[in-house]
Symmetry: C2
Subunit: 342 residues, 2 copies
């Protein structure tokens, strides 16, 4: 049952003031500088608030203050543990700053991303952390004209933004170098869509590793998926199995762990062995990677550190007038597990 009947409005400071027999300025003081109000008056005001069910109107506060006490993290995929671990890192860095963190899931959709960015900006949030679908989008510049914006898990080539990211090209290299070390000469790259920068970079690293290893251009078989989910990985397994056995890859490097785990599941369910029939490397090293049917070799990114670093950059940008943009890059490393070692 709503206390407020349809038609009546919520109690405002004016209503509280009237009920308590004081001026609205005093009510505001009780709210913001309780020490400046005598205990007796304070008690009266608080009683009135309780009775009227007074709820501060944040919109009005913000309008006056010009800013809200919120930061947003706009991310590609909440269902991917990698991003929620990044969010954890952000959360920690933010914990003692009395800011609230709101999470926004874009699901790789640029339109959803744009809507969230605009929304947050119009709310005059303190700042935005963003893992963008496309880091080169002009929208980012537009938003950053007014709102501190830090790019997470990606970078711009120029130094127009703060960012905290892992070196995806290096990660891709690492993965494929490892597979080549294990004797593989024909390797699948599984991931997509190519609109996503991480996918492009990891693919790029894989290509470079092939080239450096002296393998032909067709050593890397690219299997493009519509997304980077578990289901996409399974479906990629289907396609991989459909290749003529003559030039079927003996190893797969997946653009992230979700895809790798999906692929792994499909392969083992089809009665094949990992790594004997197909070696698999993932990317991110989420917790589930180590717990998989066959523990998954993966390129580890420092997930929470990444979030933490990004949040610290954002706080600096939002509060420090002498702020200078900074690009922090983490170097990933490879965690070798059974999925690549027989």
């Amino acid at each position: 049952m709503r206390v407020v009947q349809p038609g009546s409005r919520d109690a405002s400071v004016v209503d509280v003031a009237a009920a308590a027999g004081v001026s609205l300025g005093t009510v505001s003081n009780v709210l913001n500088r309780p020490d400046r109000v005598s205990p007796a008056t304070r008690a009266k005001v608080q009683a009135a608030m309780l009775e009227l069910g007074f709820v501060r109107n944040e919109s009005a506060r913000q309008l006056r203050a010009g800013q809200s006490r919120v930061i947003g993290y706009v991310m590609l995929d909440v269902s991917n543990p990698f991003f929620t671990d990044v969010a954890r890192g952000i959360d920690r860095a933010t914990a003692d700053s009395d800011l609230s963190l709101f999470l926004c899931n874009t699901d790789n959709d640029p339109r959803r991303e744009a809507a969230y960015l605009r929304n947050l900006q119009q709310q005059r949030v303190q700042g935005i952390l963003l893992t963008p679908v496309d880091a080169s989008s002009a929208l980012l510049d537009e938003i950053a004209r007014h709102t501190p914006l830090v790019i997470v898990d990606r970078t711009r080539d120029d130094d127009s933004f703060c960012s905290a990211a892992a070196d995806d090209v290096a990660g891709g290299r690492l993965a494929v170098e490892h597979l080549v070390d294990q004797g593989h000469r024909r390797i699948a790259f599984v991931g997509g869509p190519t609109a996503i920068g991480q996918v492009r970079d990891r693919h790029q690293g894989a290509l470079e590793a092939c080239r450096d290893a002296g393998l032909g251009e067709d050593a890397l078989v690219t299997i493009t998926t519509p997304g980077l989910t578990f289901a996409d990985g399974r479906e990629a397994g289907e396609r991989l199995a459909g290749l003529p056995s003559r030039n079927r890859p003996t190893a797969a490097f997946c653009a992230n762990d979700l895809v790798a785990l999906g692929l792994l599941q499909h392969v083992t369910q089809a009665g094949q062995r990992v790594p004997e029939d197909l070696a698999i490397v993932g990317f991110d090293d989420i917790d589930f990677a180590a717990a998989a049917a066959v523990p998954l070799t993966s390129v580890r990114q420092p997930r929470t550190s990444l979030g933490r670093a990004a949040a610290e950059l954002l706080l600096d940008e939002a509060t420090n007038p002498a702020h200078r943009h900074q690009q922090i890059t983490f170097t990933p490393d490879l965690v070798a597990r059974r999925s690549t070692q027989s």
Copy 2:
């Protein structure tokens, strides 16, 4: 580089009006009812907006409108795929209502939960979806006095709230009945903290199943964990292994899949076999359950349907004056996999 210099303020409708040589009412019309403005004037105004980098101030809009176009989902644990799948369901139900969904992670902490609830309420959001730490908390009533609030994945005994939830007691029964069917007579319940209602109910169901099966009260060995994460599951494995072999359980029912997967990992790494040495049942049936080292038997909840149903209840409560509270309960079912069947 911020366009707005320190000291200068963002452009407002008044500034735009001045720049375009029209009244502020016309600017507002361009924003909200573009058809009522002649094309020539509209163009002039839009040009002025572009030039000044005008960004609508959502606080001011909301203050006037009395409401924001946002709903929040306050959840126990973003890192748990179960909850992100619920969020997906909410998202879908919400998609065609021009509302934005903000996700808030409480990490099982009542203080964080309270902070988020108050924050959302003060923002005058359209409504709040909540998976509470403690559904009986009086705070929920206080919030619901002003803001539509739907409980997700929990229920109140009374009908003071809308809710969409699975029957956790039935789920707990299902799990343990299955284990008893498989011949187990000594079963561990792994989960915690007991402050979490889901944990209590699932435990309750497990107890009932033991009783109904004619097993003694000590057939169920309760191992309380500090949380419901992967790491908690591993650590519970440690404790389970430490029990004297005489009365060590032959099966474990875990309060959720994360714990079950952690336990599974610990057990297999310790060189024991699942299910031969220890059978394991999880709860939620997240995607990773089926992909685990040993595919995990789990109690399935309709995750996205749950989110969708909750969101629909919320929308109804927020918009339909004739709204009546409703408790929707889904009945879970058991998905038997290798972790319980040798």
